[in-house]
């Protein structure tokens, strides 16, 4: 039981870490877009892609907290 709850905790923690990793990755894509691309349309496409990755990160972080809140009762 203890092992299971530890694994659950690690899973939640990993989900949160991956979420934050995606948040920062999305932002870095946006920065790279500025540095590497010149056309406004191309920049917009990659900017939206970066934002989409950030949204996935937000969802994962939110999900990890939802699980923790459920466990806390």
């Amino acid at each position: 039981m203890f092992l299971l709850s530890t694994m659950d905790f690690q899973g939640t923690f990993a989900m949160k870490l991956v979420g934050f990793f995606l948040l920062i990755s999305g932002w870095l894509i946006v920065l790279a877009t500025l540095a590497l691309l010149a056309s406004l349309n191309l920049r917009l496409i990659f900017l939206i892609a970066g934002l989409a990755i950030e949204m996935v990160g937000v969802v994962l972080v939110a999900r990890s907290h939802l699980v923790l809140e459920d466990e806390a009762g």
Binding site: I24, W27, L40, R43, L51, H65, L66
Partner: protein, 446 residues
């Protein structure tokens, strides 16, 4: 390390700006009243005492390191070279305002303006985490906010940093636009509020065993509404001073700012009133107050460059957005935010930043950072989106990480055993209304 040309202010603008600064503390007082009114009576004294501590700590933290990090266009800053361009990423000013002249220059006015903004921004997380956030932890978190999180983003947007230079260096409109602090103050503080709420968890008894939220009504609707209206008075000064300092407006041009701010707040309040009336059968006072504040927040970013009719649209959307966002956070994400601070400030602020990119129209010669090189309107929306991506992708992880780390050394949450009696008694030893209030909830088994 490098410096940009120092911007100049129109004639008479310095004195006008000083007058506007006198109004800004009203926003802080309004937010403190709003936070207190929307909480329970058993935490009212703690919320007000914490508000005073927050204002004190934020001002001292900003004095110690905040302005050194934030700087101002024309002040020294650190440049990172990447992709063939220089990225102005952090101020390089001296700590403790050493060798800094308070002579009415734009930099000195920006320092005073930001010192007031950092206090009101730091009050925002308190609204979300009230009734279970310890006073010592509040002070620690505020020091991080005032000394690092707020100044860093303020440097990027207000201090001539890389976001402000998106127009001149990358041809994206006029660079990231936020004259009144929708992002620098409100989104940064709103995301900090979300981080803190996730760290401290929900109030005891907020969620029942079937995971449904219990309604915990505001203890003083008069405080809440009065606080929201006081915010409006202060916001006129906040947006006007921001328009002069970061939008290059002449004092006479701030009349448009006053009109836009008022219209946005009014339409947001009415929209929230209507939305809650349609949804629940009767208007909801606390959500209306939050909607009103959300409209003020959304008005800040582009208040100098939008038309009055557009301000009404921006405000109305903010009012509805805030109303539904409060419910979404509470029901879907299980985020217990008694003051509705995350929705009003983070969500309302992001909408304001986006709306500035959609609606703002600039005078042809406008380029506050570099008058010799005017920008164009194309790409403004992209600049605003980059600002939002930075807030979500950099500021949020940073503020979450800092607060998470601080929580390891200075536990944020009050003890669960003492929570039912209220944080006033636990932390202060006295209640706000000792002779008039009986806490019936303490005797109900959940």
């Amino acid at each position: 390390m490098t410096t940009l040309p120092s911007p100049t202010l129109p004639e008479g603008a310095s004195l006008f700006c000083v007058f506007c600064l006198f109004l800004v503390p009203l926003v802080a007082v309004g937010l403190a009243l709003l936070n207190t009114g929307l909480g329970r009576s058993r935490g009212a004294a703690h919320t007000m005492a914490s508000s005073m501590c927050i204002l004190s700590v934020a001002a001292i933290a900003y004095f110690a390191s905040g302005f050194a990090v934030q700087g101002f266009a024309g002040q020294p800053s650190h440049i990172l070279r990447a992709g063939g361009q220089g990225w102005d990423w952090i101020g390089a000013g001296p700590f403790f305002f050493r060798r800094f002249e308070f002579d009415g220059s734009p930099a000195s006015l920006a320092a005073a303006f930001s010192m007031l903004c950092v206090g009101l921004g730091a009050l925002i997380p308190l609204g979300a985490a009230a009734e279970r956030w310890r006073l010592a932890a509040i002070c620690g978190s505020t020091a991080l906010f005032g000394g690092w999180t707020f100044p860093l983003f303020a440097h990027w947007a207000w201090g001539g940093g890389w976001l402000a230079q998106l127009g001149t260096k990358y041809g994206l409109g006029h660079g990231f636009l936020d004259v009144g602090g929708s992002s620098c103050v409100h989104v940064v503080a709103g995301l900090t509020a979300l981080s803190v709420v996730w760290i401290v968890g929900a109030r005891r008894g907020k969620y029942s065993s079937n995971k449904m939220p219990n309604a915990i009504p505001a203890h003083n609707a008069v405080f809440a509404m009065f606080g929201a209206m006081l915010c409006w008075a202060g916001w006129l000064g906040l947006n006007s001073a921001g328009a002069v300092l970061f939008g290059g407006a002449a004092p006479a041009e701030t009349l448009l700012v006053i009109i836009n701010t008022t219209l946005a707040a009014g339409s947001a309040g009415l929209a929230a009133l209507a939305a809650t009336g349609l949804r629940f059968g009767r208007p909801d006072v606390s959500l209306t107050a939050n909607g009103w504040v959300g409209g003020l927040v959304a008005s800040s970013a582009g208040c100098l460059f939008i038309k009055p009719a557009e301000a009404i649209v921006i405000g109305a959307i903010a009012g509805v957005l805030v109303t539904y966002s409060v419910e979404w956070f509470e029901f879907a994400l299980k985020v217990d935010d008694p003051g509705g601070a995350i929705s009003a400030h983070a969500v309302g602020g992001m909408w304001g930043v986006l709306a500035a990119g959609i609606f703002a129209r600039f005078p042809i010669e406008f380029n506050h950072l570099n008058p010799t090189q005017p920008g164009s309107d194309s790409g403004q929306l992209a600049a605003q989106l980059i600002g939002i991506a930075t807030l979500v992708g950099f500021v949020f992880p940073t503020t979450y990480g800092l607060n998470w780390l601080l929580n390891r050394f200075l536990p944020y949450r009050v003890s669960s055993a003492a929570e039912p009696q209220g944080i006033d008694l636990q932390e202060l030893g006295a209640e706000a209304y000792p002779e008039f209030v009986i806490h019936t909830e303490e005797f109900i088994q959940r």
